[in-house]
Subunit: 256 residues, 2 copies
């Protein structure tokens, strides 16, 4: 059995369920921490900053520093920077996306942007969507942090960024470049951040359609943990299986 | 050459272009008016009331009463009434839709509606979209006034109701029933309102994809006028041709 030198780890459904603690996940990350194995939390959540997410993990007693968190907003910002360090950007999104773009010192503009980027925005307005459409129609490159169609909340499933993104794609006829899982873009960026090769890295997550597919597409070994979305019964239906699957991360502690 | 007893007429691109008068259209409607031939303006615009639209037509010197205007909001409201006169409705939309639904004395609710209906809403919020998604996920029937992906404005093409509708359809996985052109629902409703048979009615419009397709689907003869969207060059590419096509409505005055 291979020993992995680095871990990429999903958050919701893997480390916690909403506000509910997953005990085995806490013990697992503590074990990684004690063995000084590098790990990076990789999340499609574009709305929060790494600091805010690390705080949430710490509140569950999971050892996490802001630099151990990598969001789809950071991946999107890195992606744009790799193409054009002086990009003029029109952004639709929340605090996490704003901070990630600001960190790269891009110029924020309302008209004639080089890039239109959208992340979940619970203060969405028609005017924001209008500016996004006009930017894309004027030739801006169209980026979306992630394609999630729904967000689980206490009220039920609310619209996710993939649903908001469709306003721009349906209206303009231009398809965006999605950055987050299951795309390999966020995974390649995450490998750079953690400084590991894909052969020595394991991607852990609860959702086959995002976490595991992202790992498979990026050529990274995958571990599916049945504490969230994808049950054992659902998993058997997929043609390409994850490298490993476990009921809880307790089962993996001896293997790190 | 057949004489038609009733006319269904599109607005933007046919009667005017935004705020620009189309002289031949004014003369044409005046001729219909003088000959006492029934005509009904059929529009996908869900945001305004028949009174507001009649006022706009009158400002161009086009003879129009509110009862000669039929909007996708009215068609949607009639459609729901034909299924359930006491429907509980969650609505996303503007004044025109609100008035059309209110006229049928439906009950407006925020939770557990029988119908979720969406029309263009330039005061759209995440909360409105969230309530729409929750309603549909709870089993409400999903209606959209029209599928137009963009609205022409002085600033350029802004998101249309079809683009806003996609937030709900992408997030829930449920496809809406569209009411407006090119659907035949609005045409069948319009025939009822004008009180004419389809064999004796002519549909006039400038847009093949909406006006002419709606006529064809509803089995109504069609007249394409090249004063708006569909040019002569574009028209030759369509397999099913309109019954007639003219450069301006001046050419049709002798035939009424």
């Amino acid at each position: 059995m291979q020993k992995y030198r680095a871990y990429l780890i999903d958050l919701d459904g893997t480390m916690y369920r909403g506000t509910e603690r997953i005990e085995e996940a806490v013990d697992f990350v503590k074990a990684l921490h004690e063995k000084k194995l590098p790990y990076l939390f990789v999340t499609n959540n574009s709305s929060r900053t790494p600091e805010q997410i690390a705080d949430k993990l710490l509140s569950f007693d999971i050892p996490a520093k802001p630099e151990q968190v990598f969001t789809s907003s950071q991946a999107a910002s890195n992606y744009i920077a790799s193409e054009n360090k002086e990009a003029r950007i029109y952004m639709i999104g929340e605090e996490g996306l704003y901070h990630a773009l600001q960190e790269k010192q891009f110029t924020f503009v309302d008209e004639n942007p080089d890039y239109v980027i959208i992340g979940i925005d619970r203060n969405i307005t028609y005017e924001k969507l209008a500016k996004g459409c006009l930017g894309i129609r004027n030739g801006a490159k169209f980026i979306s942090t992630n394609a999630d169609i729904a967000i689980p909340t206490e009220r039920g499933l609310l619209p996710g960024n993939g649903a908001l993104t469709s306003v721009l794609s349906v209206s303009t006829g231009v398809k965006p470049i999605f950055i987050g899982k299951p795309e390999s873009i966020i995974m390649e960026q995450a490998l750079k951040v953690i400084g590991a090769k894909k052969e020595e890295t394991l991607m852990i997550g609860d959702n086959y359609e995002t976490d595991i597919t992202a790992g498979i597409r990026a050529g990274i070994d995958t571990l599916l943990v049945h504490t969230g979305i994808t049950t054992k019964e659902m998993l058997v239906r997929y043609k390409v299986q994850p490298t490993y699957s476990v009921h809880s991360l307790l089962e993996w502690i001896d293997r790190i």
